[in-house]
């Protein structure tokens, strides 16, 4: 009984700390539904008197937020699928094919993933202008497919390195070629890991800032992150507008979080302890 009592302070401290983490989200949600008049009269701490959604609506229309969402979804979705595909091909050769020099190949992919984007950004900017891909969503898709695949290759190679060889041998004896083994056996069996990668690539790409900021200058191509970040940088927004922007930026992340919570927490551990 005494020990049980001693445990409550720990729990209470943890709950308070957790509340501190969540409070900014609450602030944003509360203030995004206040009218400018109410905001200036009562400040940011008061509870909203009613549901005023015009600020959010105005902001949505002003930045054409639907288009930004579409761009982000298109770019992140394409990158996720393509990067997983590329990772699978690489990891198949490294983990199952055990190609010669695979240690070096793997080391190369790790380094490519660690490389700061700052060391690529100007040449990528310059080259994409040369080949006419500058300010296209395709350019960002290509670049992030490769960057995410570097991580995916590293992770999947170790997963496929553990793949039960008997299954592959059996399929080979039955006359399946390498391509069929990959598609009919390796991919279906590794589906859980591929799912984790898919989710991670999607969210990572969604959250990227530097390269999309440099590559996507026209309004029609910008992603959610870039559109909001650039607006904020210009300091054109008043407090209510800022909140509307923050709310619209937070919402998709919250949705991902709620949908993929289990995958995320499990996946991050998978990713970290490679």
């Amino acid at each position: 009984m005494r020990t049980a009592l001693r445990r409550y302070p720990v729990l209470i401290a943890l709950v308070l700390a957790a509340l501190f983490m969540v409070v900014p989200f609450v602030f944003v949600a509360v203030n995004a539904v206040k009218s400018p008049a109410e905001y200036s009269a009562n400040g940011p701490l008061s509870l909203p008197e009613g549901l005023y959604l015009d600020g959010v609506k105005d902001f949505w229309e002003r930045v054409d937020f639907g288009q930004k969402l579409l761009n982000s979804a298109l770019i992140s979705g394409s990158v996720a699928v393509l990067a997983v595909a590329l990772s699978v091909l690489n990891a198949y050769a490294i983990g199952i094919g055990r190609v010669r020099g695979r240690t070096w190949v793997l080391a190369f992919f790790v380094l490519a993933n660690m490389l700061p984007q700052e060391a690529l950004v100007y040449p990528v900017y310059y080259l994409s202008k040369e080949v006419g891909l500058y300010d296209t969503r395709l350019s960002v898709i290509i670049v992030f497919t490769v960057i995410q695949a570097a991580f995916g290759t590293y992770l999947l190679s170790s997963v496929l390195g553990q793949f039960p060889r008997e299954i592959i041998e059996a399929a080979r004896i039955d006359g399946a070629n390498k391509w069929q083994v990959l598609w009919r056996i390796v991919v279906p069996v590794s589906r859980p890991t591929l799912g984790v990668l898919l989710v991670f690539f999607f969210i990572w790409t969604w959250n990227e800032f530097l390269l999309p900021l440099v590559m996507l200058i026209s309004n029609d191509n910008q992603t959610v992150s870039v559109a909001l970040g650039v607006l904020q940088g210009q300091r054109l927004m008043d407090a209510t507008m800022t909140n509307a922007a923050a709310l619209l930026g937070v919402l998709p992340a919250l949705v991902f979080f709620l949908v993929f919570q289990r995958t995320l927490t499990r996946g991050i551990a998978v990713g970290a302890v490679k």
Partner: protein, 329 residues
């Protein structure tokens, strides 16, 4: 959905390389797997290798992005040595390493141990999972959005933090959190701790799951207090995770860009400038491409060094840990 991944890193590599897997007999069919690497190799060549080499090459030239680059040898690097802005940006990087790697790792360890040891055990895993989710939440937020949220909270007039201080009678503590050169860097650091904390926490909690609960029970029976259990069991058992987290977070801290761009634009007066933001402005605002390339090359060298050290420590910790128990799923 269950994902079990054997930790690879250095040790798997060593082991599988030695496995005498049908040597010679399968050499031919083994090498034809190399074809599967072809798309990846070409894509990496175009997107990583060529741009990276270009960037390194350009760092030895005087180039403004138009015309042809003029070879200038080490001139950019010599100039960097005397550039106080450059040194300041790297000094700020060290602050970011504290905020994004050291503090989150230390706090994350304590939180993970408390959630695992106390909350999970005595209040149920549901509580632990919900609390963990709260700490992890900022991690899924785009950094640009986190920046918007915090720049509004930290705003000088009518900012939530200042209003909050006033409301609880600490009005004299009010600050221009992001606009005062003396405290802007600390404010950014605070935001980054908030952003980063969830990552170590989740990794450590996952790591703790493979610690044999009997170790804790035995220690508790022997009368070891929380602190001793934490030091001798928790810390010792999840050392590989600690190195991984420290490495990743240090690299992330060295690369930090979006938060600085949105929160302060490196200001006021360069007080929060960091190398990646410095190279960005040198590239795209001052269009001194050669000089910017030198900055990012130095940054790359530092990051690669950190990665190699981290990888080494991790491999060693995993090997050391491997011998006695070695149970891991």
């Amino acid at each position: 959905m269950t994902v079990t991944v054997e930790p690879a890193g250095g040790r798997r590599r060593g082991r599988s390389a030695n496995s005498p897997h049908r040597k010679g007999a399968s050499r031919h069919h083994r090498d034809s797997y190399a074809l599967f690497l072809l798309p990846g190799a070409l894509a990496f060549l175009a997107v990583i290798v060529v741009p990276f080499l270009m960037n390194t090459g350009v760092s030895f030239t005087d180039w403004r992005g138009v015309g042809s680059p003029e070879w200038s040898g080490l001139a950019n690097y010599r100039e960097l040595m005397d550039d106080s802005e450059f040194w300041a940006s790297f000094r700020h990087s060290l602050f970011m390493v504290v905020a994004m790697a050291a503090v989150p790792t230390a706090v994350g360890l304590v939180l993970a141990a408390a959630l695992f040891d106390y909350v999970g055990k005595h209040f149920g895993s549901r509580w632990a999972a919900v609390l963990r989710a709260c700490f992890y939440l900022p991690q899924v937020l785009p950094i640009a959005v986190a920046g918007i949220v915090w720049s509004w909270i930290l705003a000088p007039d009518n900012g939530s933090l200042n209003e909050l201080l006033k409301a609880v009678g600490l009005g004299s503590w009010q600050q221009d959190w992001l606009g005062d050169p003396d405290i802007a860097l600390y404010s950014v650091m605070g935001v980054m701790v908030w952003v980063q904390l969830g990552f170590p926490l989740v990794v450590f909690m996952a790591g703790l799951q493979r610690v044999d609960p009997q170790l804790y029970e035995a220690a508790e029976l022997d009368g070891a207090g929380w602190w001793r259990r934490f030091r001798h069991i928790t810390l010792a058992q999840i050392r590989p995770e600690i190195y991984v987290v420290l490495t990743w977070c240090t690299i992330a801290a060295l690369k930090v860009f979006g938060a600085v761009y949105v929160l302060t634009k490196g200001g006021p007066g360069g007080a929060t400038n960091v190398p990646s933001y410095f190279s960005f402005t040198t590239f795209f605002e001052k269009t001194q491409v050669g000089y910017g390339a030198a900055v990012s090359t130095v940054l790359t060298v530092i990051i690669l060094a950190v990665s190699l050290i981290g990888l080494k420590l991790q491999t060693r910790a995993e090997d050391a840990e491997d011998s006695p128990t070695g149970v891991r799923t």
